[in-house]
Amino acid sequence: MSGQPSLWWIDWRLSRAPLVRETIGRFLFLCLLGFALLSLLLSGGASRFLADRYAITAVLRAGVPAAEAEGLARKVAALPPVRSAAYRDPEAAWKEFLRAYPGLDPLRDAGGNPMPGYIEVRMRPDRLTGADVAFVGSALRSVSHVEQVLAGEEWLPRQLRAGRLASGACWGIFGAFLAGFFVVGRLQERARAVALAGDFAFLAERGVPSGRLAFFRAAGAAVSGFLLAATGTAAGGGALLLSLRTFPSLEGVIGPPSDLLLPRTVVAVALFACGAALLSAAASLLGWRAARSGRK
């Protein structure tokens, strides 16, 4: 005897073909899960969709100098929940009005431009909540130059609730697929443990403890699960990037491609890979236990 046998990748060394098939299947599934995860992370469920279509309008009083209005817009843009705040002078407001209601030019002939200037405030997708909208609204109302704040407070809570439900449903579906990954993985591990039972019995007869076998199988499953999840998510991210470049309109729902490299996205992907590693190890151990006890 030349020493304690190394049990790393024991399944690979005993039975390669089935393991290759399983690994390819898991990788493809994790690519899909990675694509879905990144889409959900970037979009925040329905948050970005809502934030893209929602704006607070602060109508300014007549006669507010453009410089002061722009200064006010800059101050509003500096508020934490605000993504952008842009001042539209009365002339721009009039042009927008005409684009929306063509043929109403005669209104101006009566007594000049009837449209006031205004500040359009866009919220950050992750800060589009009732509290943050109320905070921005109250901040705007306290400014003497602001005549009226249009924040849609009467219908916004319903929209936000619907958005939360949609986000929850999306994450629920993602979780269901993740659970499916675990269940299928457990069945595969069990089937492989049954198929290799003769080999494991052979090793146990020759002094290899069963616990050590189970540990190294689970450790191998964890390492491969982590690597598969990391590479699968990277591949899914690549597909998402390609989709966003091909169809720029998706940015309004999912988000800009640059968000893929945000630290929080990278951390979330790392956590996902760790979770996949844990699930893989658990599936391996449960599959091993079920195979040894003869249960399904």
């Binding site: 046998p5 190394s6 024991i10 052979f202 002094g207």
Partner: protein, 230 residues
């Protein structure tokens, strides 16, 4: 030295045997002959540390297999080779898989070394080029010889063979006779369990020691006083 003290086994609601003493010295080839259903396979399991006897104990080099340190028992099992009586469970494997698995149990056998030794061992047992053959397609004799060669890959210090001589068949007896004695000469211990001992082997081994339902023969190693079977 493998010693069994007052070994007893209770099986199928009755005492199969009890109070048996065995002593298998190192660097020797031993043959335990016994009638069918006398518990030969069970005896080998007990000696290998696989099955705790219902009475008595097995001591290897002064250490108890069943009452001592479990790590020592595992180390003992790791140093043993075992050729079972039949290998139906391995029918899905190829001969190459047997060697791969055996190398895995041995640990540290390099790939190139494994291939080289595999080829030589297969040739020795009369199965050259059998690496890709499926166990299910082999005859009983070929299976036994393939399993024996795979066990030898690891170079076990102690080799337990259950029905190997009978399973391998008459044409392989001379090869086995030479192999077991050569292993013993190199310092290994071989314990064979058979229903009967081939006549020529019995003549060469001389008087058997009766132990319960068994007769224990010590096969002569080359250069020993006992004669060669003709």
């Amino acid at each position: 030295m493998i010693e069994g003290f007052r070994l007893g086994v209770f099986s199928r609601g009755t005492t199969l045997w009890d109070g048996l003493d065995f002593a298998f010295g190192d660097a020797a080839a031993w043959l335990v002959a016994g009638p069918p259903s006398s518990g030969k396979t069970l005896l080998l399991s007990i000696l290998r540390g696989e099955r705790r006897p219902d009475a008595g104990d097995v001591v290897v080099s002064g250490e108890s297999l069943y009452r001592g340190n479990p790590a020592l028992a595992r180390a003992w099992r790791a140093s043993c080779g075992h050729v079972p009586e039949q290998a139906i469970a391995d029918a899905r494997l190829t001969v190459g898989d047997l060697f791969r698995r055996s190398a895995l149990a041995g640990g540290g056998v390099r790939e190139s070394e494994r291939k080289d030794r595999t080829d030589r061992l297969l040739e020795m047992v009369g199965l050259p080029g059998a690496l890709e053959w499926r166990i299910a397609e082999l005859s009983i004799s070929e299976r036994v010889r393939a399993c024996l060669a795979a066990e030898l890959l690891r170079g076990p210090k102690v080799l337990f063979c259950d029905g190997v001589v009978a399973g391998a068949g008459i044409p392989s007896r001379e090869m086995l006779w030479g192999l077991f004695r050569a292993l013993a000469r190199e310092g290994n211990t071989v314990v064979l369990a058979e229903r009967t001992i081939p006549e020529r082997w019995a003549l060469a081994a001389g008087e058997a020691e009766p132990v319960g339902p068994f007769r224990v023969y010590r096969l002569p190693v080359p250069g020993a006083v006992k004669g060669e079977p003709g």
